[in-house]
């Protein structure tokens, strides 16, 4: 994929931080508002795909290698499974929410009914959202980047 015009690049540079912040917000507030790790990760990966379209796959591949993205994806998956196994150790069962009620890290229990959002709630759910978000960002961006770069290489090979 070749790079696009300077106008598109400028608009992308302006829009990219906003899309990034929105996606990270959706990931971080997964236990309070609609969304979560998968959805927010898809938003951030879309922002990265926008960069890829505007600046071309070669430039993007110079900045971030797909090897590093797959490392990030594996780290996200391992964090997710590790949190689930910690439930086996600290709690009673696999995937048990052992952080609820400890009053420190995401452990506050909200009042019953519709209450004001308190970020410090949810137990292990926000941590799992972060892990899944990291995994989805790295995974989707790795797919898009590898496919775009392969297309560029194929086109160069034909010429």
């Amino acid at each position: 994929m070749t790079k696009m015009s300077r106008i598109v690049q400028t608009i992308t540079s302006i829009m990219f931080p906003f899309a990034m912040i929105y996606g990270l917000y959706v990931i971080a507030h997964g236990h309070l508002t609609p969304g979560g790790g998968f959805q927010g990760g898809a938003i951030v990966a879309s922002a990265c795909a926008m960069i890829l379209v505007a600046f071309g796959s070669k430039w993007t591949m110079e900045k971030i290698k797909e090897k590093h993205l797959s490392i990030f994806e594996s780290v996200g998956a391992l964090c997710f499974i590790g949190l689930a196994f910690f439930g086996l150790i600290f709690g009673s069962v696999f995937f048990s929410n052992y952080l609820v009620g400890n009053e420190m890290l995401f452990g506050v229990i909200p009042m019953a009914g519709s209450t004001a959002a308190d970020f410090n709630t949810g137990g292990v759910i926000p941590l799992m959202n972060f892990a899944v978000g990291l995994k989805v960002i790295a995974g989707l961006f790795a797919i898009v980047l590898v496919m775009a770069y392969a297309t560029t290489k194929l086109r160069e090979g034909k010429k």
Binding site: G30, A77, F80, N97, M111, V132, K153
Partner: protein
């Protein structure tokens, strides 16, 4: 009509009959279905998981195995795509 066509027609008739019967027996649209599970989740989500968002509580806590499977599917997809395109980006 050949024997093969006869068998096909009978089979088609049976399948069509099953479809019509299940359409007649379907739950009426808009009528509430009695379920203990959703009431339990609505009442106990906040004190059991501490999350205000019930959907996320179901996805990441009550049905964590489901999310683990989804994450595995994504991992497999990424691994497959990188494997297929590996030959083209090894310089």
């Amino acid at each position: 009509m050949s024997k093969r066509n006869m068998i096909a027609a009978v089979f088609f008739g049976i399948v069509a009959g099953i479809f019509v019967m299940s359409a007649l027996l379907m739950h009426p649209f808009g009528e509430l279905d009695e379920s203990a599970m959703d009431d339990y989740i609505i009442e106990n989500t906040q004190e059991e998981t501490g999350a205000n968002n019930g959907v996320t509580a179901v996805v990441f806590d009550y049905r964590g195995f489901d999310t683990l499977g989804e994450a595995t599917v994504l991992f497999t997809a990424v691994a497959g795509v990188i494997l297929v395109f590996r030959r083209l980006h090894d310089d």
